[in-house]
Assembly symmetry: C2
Amino acid sequence: MDVDAVEQVLKEHGCTITPQRRAVLRFLDGNLDHPSAARIYEAVTADLPVSSRATVYNTLALLVQLGAVGLVRGTDGEMRYDPNTAPHHHLSCDQCGRLEDVPATAVTLLLRGQPAAGEVRFTGRCPTCLP
Amino acid sequence: MDVDAVEQVLKEHGCTITPQRRAVLRFLDGNLDHPSAARIYEAVTADLPVSSRATVYNTLALLVQLGAVGLVRGTDGEMRYDPNTAPHHHLSCDQCGRLEDVPATAVTLLLRGQPAAGEVRFTGRCPTCLP
DNA sequence: CTATATGCAAAATTTTTGCATCGTT
DNA sequence: AACGATGCAAAAATTTTGCATATAG
């Protein structure tokens, strides 16, 4: 995800570039934490004087629709947003709840050279939480 | 999951066998649909004169704690309950939302003979929804 | 200036909790 | 009779929606 590119796409779709949308984009850019909407709202309100949850949700829904950010549901049920739009997979840690990226290449290797036909979610312990 | 065995385990843990618990067990036994709490509540109330959501949730939480049923979060965020307690994996269909079992052996084969260290969730199209 | 986005509040959904009552053993 | 379970209602938590107001272009 590239902020400038996404703003370009927004304009092409007749959407305006608002400070709120810019703040969401700025926070998401390069973020590898798979933040929840609540976390994003928190970051945006720290940045701007005020902002509302609804706006953050609207913005995220828009970005997902445009394919500018990915969306995975955490094991805890929260939606998590992912600026990494390249095909990849996830490891969800039972212990700490973190969501980690698993490169597509790693899964392709596991599957004897065939790329997976969808997202693969591994649920278990992340490297940090392994005994 | 075997109803009689689970009732035995309940007794061993000092838990009573109530009609509500029996109804939940009866509905879950052999059910391959990964039903949600709402679906289970619906089935139980059709069976018993009345029952409350809280009781169904209590019962399900108890069964999960005792390891008598498994628990996976659907892609839609709902919890789904699974009487199949043997290690296995799941395929979540993007199209129809169904959750299907994927035998542990299938994944072990994919992983060159090594069993997976946790649940693996494949997200994509189920056989029925494939083009 | 006009279309669009924002913000607030309230609704919808799923799950949890507190508490009085009821039922199992 | 005692302890645990039930049921109701209300609370939490997350996401969605309706509508009046404000703002970007």
